[in-house]
Amino acid sequence: MSSARIPVCGKPTWVQSMTDALLKIRALNAWYGESHILHGIDLDIRQGETVTLLGRNGAGKTTTLRAIMGILRRREGTINLAGKDLTVLPLHRVAQMGLGYVPEERGIFASLSVEENLTLPPKVAEGGMSVEEIYRLFPNLQERRNSQGTKLSGGEQQMLAIARVLRTGAKIILLDEPTEGLAPVIVQRIGDVLVALKQRGMTILLVEQNFRFARKVADRFYLMEDGRMVNSFAEHELDDHMNELHDVLGV
C-alpha cells in the first residue's frame, strides 16, 4: 500500500507545509484568564501575500492577532517569523521583528496630535514610507496634522491607524477590521489603500467580517469558528465555498 493514500494524523488536507512562509503559526493556543480561546491554530503567510481571517464575532480573529503580537501573553505553540520564534520575546521586541499592528479600536492617542500619532511607532527597518509619501496617500491627514488625534472622524482615524505602521518598515501588517462602522465611500478608499500596499509588496494579515470587501485584496482566506481554523482556500476558490461561508459567517 502506498503511504501517500493514508491520511496523516487527522490533519485536514489543506494544511500544507509551506516552507517558504514568512509567518508560520503552529498549534497556537491562547487564553484570556481561565477561558481557552484559541484551540491549536495553524496559519501561514507567504511574503507579499494578503491573507484574510473570516469568522463571526467571537470566533477568535482578534484574539489571533493579539496572540501573534504578544499583547495576549498566555499562549502555547509556535509563532515563527522569518525563522525566529516570537513567543519568547517581550512585547516591544515583536514589533522590532517587523510586525505592524492596526488594532480594532484603532488606538489613536488623544493626547497626541495627528502628526505625533503618525510618527509614534519607532522605525524597525529600512524601507518604510516617508511622512511625505504617507501624506500623499492620505491628504486628509496632512491637512489635519496639528489636530488632536481623536478629533478626526472615524474614517480618518482608521487611515491614521493604518498610516502609522507604514512608516516603520514593518514587513507584515496585521489589520483588525479596518472597515468596521465606516461609510461605503471610506471603505472603498481603504480598499484602494490596501491594494496600493499590496502592489508595493506588503504582506498583510487582514481580519474582516465583510468578505465582499476582503476578496478585492485577499489572496487567500482562512475561516475561523470557535477558536479553530475550519477551512482555508484561495481567492479564486471563494465562489465554491459560498455555502460554507454563509453557514459559518451567518450572512
Binding site: L91, R93, A95, Q96, F109, S111, P121
Partner: protein, 295 residues
C-alpha cells in the same frame, strides 16, 4: 506707610513672596508626582523622602566632599534619580498590574525607612546649608527688599517646570510618555520599550524631587522630616490640579502657594488649612480636579 485693603503693603508683598516660594516647591514636587502617577499609576509616597534625600545629598557633598551648591544642583538629582531607578527595578516594577494600594504601601514604607535612617544619623534638628556666595544678599525692588536666593528659587523653579513641560509636550520621548499614559500596552506593541520608559519616568520624578530638595536646603534647613511636612500639602495640590495633569500640577502649585500666603495676611488662623478647604471644594464641584480630564 502705604496700605492695601488696610494691610501694610510690605507685609502683603512679603507674604506674596513667601507664597510664591512655597508655591515653587509645591509646583516642583507635584509636577514629579503627577508625571509618576500619570504613567505608573503609582501614588509615590516616597516623594517627600526623595526631596529630603536631595537636600541631604547636597549637605553631604558640601560637608564630606567639599562639593558646593552649583555642582550639587546637578549631582544630587542624578544620585537620587539613580537610587529611585534601583528601587523601581528591584521593587516597584513587581507591583505593576496589582491593586495600586501595593505601590502606595511600598513607597510609604520606603519613606518611613529613609526618614527613620536619617533621623537616626542626623537627629531632627535642622542642619544649616548656606546659599552660595553668588546668591547671598538682597535686592531693593523699590517696594520691598528681595533676598536674592529666594528670587533665584522662584526663577529656577519656573525654568525647571517649563523645561519639564516642554520635554513632555514637545519631544519624541514626551510623546511616548503621553501615549503610554493612555495605553501602555499599545505603545509597547509598537516597539517602544515601555518597561524602560517606566523606570526612567520614576527616576525623572525622583530627580525633580531631589532638585527641589537642593533648592530648599538654604531656605528651610536640611532636616529628615522636611519632606513629610510638605508632602501632604503637595498631595492636596495634585488632587486640586487633577491627578496626572502636568500643567495642572504646575499652575495649581503656584496658585495655592500664593493663596496660602495671602491667607496669612488676611486671616492668619486659616492659613494652614486653606489648601485643604480648596481641595474639598474642588472635589465636590470637579472631582477630576481643575485640569483633570473626566474619566
Amino acid at each position: 506707610m502705604s496700605t492695601i485693603f488696610g494691610i501694610p503693603a510690605p507685609a502683603l508683598y512679603g507674604q506674596i513672596l513667601i507664597g510664591l516660594i512655597n508655591g515653587s516647591f509645591y509646583a516642583l514636587l507635584s509636577l514629579g508626582l503627577a508625571v509618576i502617577f500619570g504613567l505608573l499609576r503609582v501614588i509615590n509616597f516616597a516623594h517627600g523622602a526623595q526631596y529630603m534625600l536631595g537636600a541631604f545629598v547636597s549637605y553631604g557633598l558640601l560637608n564630606y566632599l567639599g562639593i558646593g551648591y552649583w555642582l550639587a544642583l546637578i549631582l544630587a538629582p542624578l544620585i537620587v534619580g539613580a537610587v529611585a531607578i534601583v528601587i523601581e527595578r528591584t521593587m516597584l516594577s513587581r507591583l505593576y498590574g496589582l491593586d495600586p494600594l501595593y505601590g502606595l504601601l511600598l513607597t510609604f514604607g520606603l519613606a518611613l525607612i529613609f526618614e527613620g535612617a536619617f533621623r537616626y544619623w542626623f537627629g531632627t534638628s535642622g542642619k544649616p546649608y548656606a546659599p552660595p556666595p553668588q546668591l547671598t544678599g538682597a535686592m531693593n525692588l523699590g517696594f520691598m527688599f528681595l533676598p536674592i536666593y529666594r528670587g533665584w528659587v522662584v526663577v529656577a523653579s519656573l525654568i525647571i517646570c517649563l523645561g519639564t513641560w516642554l520635554l513632555i509636550e514637545k519631544t519624541r520621548l514626551g510623546s511616548y510618555l503621553r501615549a503610554a499614559t493612555e495605553n501602555a500596552t499599545l505603545v509597547q506593541a509598537f516597539g517602544v520599550n515601555v518597561p524602560r520608559l517606566l523606570t526612567l519616568t520614576y527616576g525623572l520624578g525622583a530627580a525633580l524631587a531631589a532638585l527641589a530638595g537642593v533648592l530648599a536646603a538654604p531656605i528651610y534647613q536640611v532636616n529628615p522630616l522636611m519632606g513629610s511636612n510638605l508632602i501632604i500639602i503637595v498631595f492636596a495640590v495634585v488632587v486640586v490640579g487633577g491627578m496626572g495633569s502636568i500643567l495642572g500640577a504646575i499652575i495649581t502649585g503656584y496658585m495655592l502657594g500664593i493663596l496660602e500666603g495671602l491667607t496669612k495676611v488676611f486671616y492668619a488662623e486659616a492659613s494652614s488649612i486653606v489648601i485643604f478647604v480648596v481641595m474639598a471644594v474642588v472635589l465636590l464641584i470637579r472631582p477630576a480636579g481643575l485640569f483633570g480630564r473626566e474619566a
